[in-house]
Each structure stands twice: as C-alpha cells, then as structure tokens.
C-alpha cells in the first residue's frame, strides 16, 4: 500500500474512528493519538489485513482494542495522577461546565457510565448502530448487547430524573 492509498482510507474513516475512540477515552486529544497509532500500525502491518470489503469493521476493532489497551496503560494511570496533581486546573475547567443544558447533562451522564454500558449506549444512540452490528463489532451475543443497553438505561434514569429524553421514556 502506498501512502497515497492510506490517505484515501484515512479520508474515509478518520472522523468515525475518532468518534469511536472518544466514546471510550473521553478525551479528544487521546482519541486522535489512538487513531493515529492505529493507522500507523495498519500501514506497518498491512500484510495482516486481507481485503474482504470489511475494512470499516477491521479498523474499528483495531481502535477498540487500542482503547482498551489504553485503559490498562501507564499513560491512563498517569493521567489520573496528573489530574490529581493538577487538581486546580481540573476544577477550573469544571467551573466552565456549570451552565449545562439538557443535552450536556445527558452526555455527561452517559460518559459517566461504566465502560460496558457506555460503549453499547454510545454505539446505539450516538452512532445509531443496530444491536446486531454492535454485537458483531464487540464479538458478543445480541442478548448481551440488549442486557447492557437495558442496564445502561437503568443507571441513567436516576441521574436524569428531570430530563425528558425519549430514550428513557420508551423501553
């Protein structure tokens, strides 16, 4: 594969992959870094990818795996420490979020969910992916996706008591 071909692939997939990574790491810069690493890895190991018209799924899985590695990584732990060391900056940033609208509250509540619920809810509501597609992407049964969606909604309800979000009104 030539760099030119890689550029064409990136042109098509970069934005979607950044969104995907963001649902996991909740930080745009880190999401960009992850997608960047994935494209470089993809370019370096292109012989491992057999063209079967499933490039979208292949790249998505690479991103998901990279995100999950990130949670186990020293970088992630270091950021947690950093956030404590630089606590004042974090607090200042939080202050900017005081005036939250309903959409922001929903977003904040979803991103505060445990990873298992957050990832399926993100795919389902933000990406509008059907259950079967989510199941395939995460290599889990459809029933598990549905269980996680239901559990996610249950966890959101008490946090969004005063918000009329149709997702929570219609099971």
């Amino acid at each position: 594969m030539l760099v030119k071909e890689l550029e064409e692939i990136m042109e098509l997939h970069t934005e979607r992959l950044i969104r995907l990574a963001y649902y996991y790491v909740k930080d745009l810069q880190e999401a960009e870094d992850i997608v960047q690493d994935v494209f470089i890895k993809f370019y370096d190991n292109q012989q491992k990818y057999e063209e079967r018209g499933e490039l979208k799924a292949y790249l998505s899985k690479l991103v998901i795996n990279k995100c999950k590695d990130y949670f186990r990584s020293w970088t992630y732990r270091k950021i947690q420490v950093q956030q404590k060391i630089f606590a004042k900056q974090t607090i200042a940033r939080r202050d900017m979020l005081v005036q939250q609208d309903e959409q922001t509250l929903i977003e904040t509540a979803i991103f505060a969910l445990p990873l298992k619920q957050r990832e399926v809810l993100s795919y389902f509501y933000f990406e509008e992916m059907p259950v079967a597609e989510i199941a395939k992407l995460l290599s889990i049964p459809d029933s598990t996706v549905k269980t996680r969606l239901r559990r996610g909604r249950e966890l959101l309800k008490p946090k969004l008591q005063h918000i009329e979000w149709e997702v929570l009104l219609h099971e």
């Binding site: 760099v3 890689l6 550029e7 990136m10 042109e11 970069t14 934005e15 950044i18 969104r19 963001y22 745009l28 810069q29 999401a31 960009e32 870094d33 997608v35 960047q36 690493d37 494209f39 470089i40 890895k41 370019y43 370096d44 590695d69 990130y70 186990r72 990584s73 020293w74 970088t75 732990r77 270091k78 947690q80 420490v81 950093q82 404590k84 060391i85 630089f86 606590a87 004042k88 900056q89 959409q103 922001t104 929903i106 977003e107 389902f124 509501y125 933000f126 509008e128 979000w165 149709e166 997702v167």
Partner: protein
C-alpha cells in the same frame, strides 16, 4: 431512537486533518518508533509500592512534628525492599520504580535543604492531592489494600503519614516557582521543580545514586513518548511555542493565536529544559511525555529531549 451528537465531536475536521498530517509525516520521516508503546504499568502501583516500601522500613512517627530524619533518604534497605520484590521481574517496571523512588526522595531532600517546614497542621491545611480521591483509588486496588493490611495501616493512615508529606514538599516547591514565574503553566512548574530537585539531589547524592543504579541495573526510561517537529515561533517568560508548518515569513507578523489557528497546532514547552539556547525561527524535534490542552489547537507539554536543526 434519539439521534444525539456529542458536543466535542460536532466538528472533527481539524482533528481529522491533524491525524492525517501526523500519520503521513511519521511514515515519511520514520522519526518515531514503529509502535508507540504504552506501558502496561500503573503509576499508582509504582508510587504506592515505593511508599509502602519506605513505610515498612521507616514506620513514620505519629507526632505533631514530622522529623527530617523520620524517613531515610536513598537508603539501600528501602530500595532493596521495593526493587527486589520477587513479583517485579520486569526490567521496565524496575526502571520506573527506581525513577519514582528517586523523584520522591528528591522532592523531600530538596525541600528539606530549602528549610521548608513539615508539620501535621501544614499538611492538613494544604490538602494537596484530594485526599478522598487518593484514598478511594487505594481502596479500589486489592493488592495495595493487602499490602497495607499487612502493615496494619488504613489507606487514610497511608495518605496522612507518608504520601501527603512527599506531595506537600512538591507543592511547596511549586509555590516558590510560581512566585518567580507568575504566569507559568502547571506542567512547566511541575517539570521545573522536578528538574531543580533532581539536580540538587544528583549533585548531593551522585555517588549513592550511581551505586544504586549500577546495583539494580536501571536506565532512564521515557514513558509514553510523544513527538513534536516544528518551528519555534515565540518565546515568553519560561516557555517557547513550537508550531508545525509555520513559515518563516509568518513569524513576527502573525500573533501566537493566529499562528496556532492557521496551522491548527501548537505546543508550549519549558525553556529551562533545553541545554541549548532556544531562538525564534529554529526548527526543533522534541520528545515529550506530558501534555495538557489549552485551547482547541494548542497544548502545554513537558520536554524530555530536543534536537535543534540547522
């Protein structure tokens, strides 16, 4: 179903451009290793293991005053406890543990050398690291809980009697730095204090450090390295700004903000960290590990290594 768009993801054009530019540059230049390695290690584990190791040996007193002699500095027995743990056979883990040990010793020793007073009252007042957050983090780590339990210590005791002291030293040193550099960034203050403390520590304890390094066969490890290639477009107070893609004719004509927005990137690095003189217009290749976002396109970073191109 509700179609909903996350605020931060509404316009990803700039992000996409950054990713594509960086990927192509990295492939073309091959300036970075093939794999950006993210260590499978926990900083909490490192710091906590270090602290617990010291605890086993020192058993800090409960008195109102925290004696300067309460915790030995660079004591070989402490390093043995931490670094010769049978479970820590990974070379990188040993390197990291060693660096964490040295760094924490350095803050403490340097703060003591500057006459900074340590007392329970001052520590309580400071409450640097949010105590509850750290205590909760320990409570979520079963391995740490077990180690603390063996010492008959609660996570709260651990914070109050040891960890807080080290972080207090670091915070006092940072305050001093901010008095001299009022508009400095937190990361730069942190990096500067770390360097000052390490310089002092290396000068005072160089022989012992070299002996211990040799004994445990450790080498410097840069973690989660990030790379920035670009042009120095501004120098302010204790920092300089590097923008990738900046043109010579733009320097001095565009403001920093205009430059950053035009090229959709920019990182502020600390001046003190470069051994060589930094001047505007130089092309630099920087390795760094910490970064904090400032605005849409610009960041503050620390600086591990710098190469200046002609």
């Amino acid at each position: 179903m509700s179609k909903y768009e996350v605020e931060a993801l509404k316009d990803l054009q700039a992000s996409k451009n950054r990713v594509m530019t960086n990927v192509v540059k990295q492939i073309e230049q091959r300036a970075i290793p093939k794999h950006s390695r993210r260590w499978q290690l926990s900083m909490f584990t490192i710091i906590l293991t270090v602290c617990i190791g010291i605890f086993i040996y020192a058993q800090i007193n409960n008195g109102e005053k925290l004696s300067a002699n309460a915790v030995p500095i660079l004591d070989e027995k402490i390093y043995d406890i931490v670094l010769q743990d049978a479970s820590q056979t990974d070379e990188k883990f040993t390197n990291l543990n060693f660096q964490a040990l040295i760094e924490m010793d350095a803050y403490y020793a340097y703060a003591l050398s500057k006459g900074i007073k340590f007392s329970v009252a001052a520590l309580a007042e400071q409450q640097l690291l949010e105590r509850d957050q750290l205590v909760n983090a320990i409570k979520n780590d079963n391995e740490m809980i077990e180690k603390l339990a063996m010492l008959q210590l609660s996570p709260e005791d651990f914070y109050d009697k040891y960890y807080g002291v080290r972080m207090f030293a670091q915070a006092e040193l940072k305050k001093e730095y901010f008095r001299k550099n009022e508009s400095s960034f937190q990361i730069h203050a942190y990096s500067a204090v770390k360097k000052e403390a390490m310089d002092y520590f290396t000068a005072e304890y160089g022989t012992q450090i070299a002996y211990l390094k040799n004994k445990y066969n450790v080498s410097k490890t840069i973690l989660a390295a990030k790379y920035k290639y670009g042009t120095v477009v501004a120098i302010e107070e204790d920092r300089f700004l590097v923008v990738t893609g900046a043109l010579p004719e733009e320097i001095g004509r565009l403001s920093n903000e205009e430059m950053i927005n035009k090229h959709t990137n920019g990182v502020w690095f600390p001046l003190f960290a470069s051994q060589q003189k930094i001047t505007i217009g130089q092309n630099v290749n920087i390795t760094y590990s910490l970064q904090e976002r400032l605005d849409q396109y610009d960041f503050v970073g620390d600086l591990e290594e710098i190469e200046i191109s002609e």
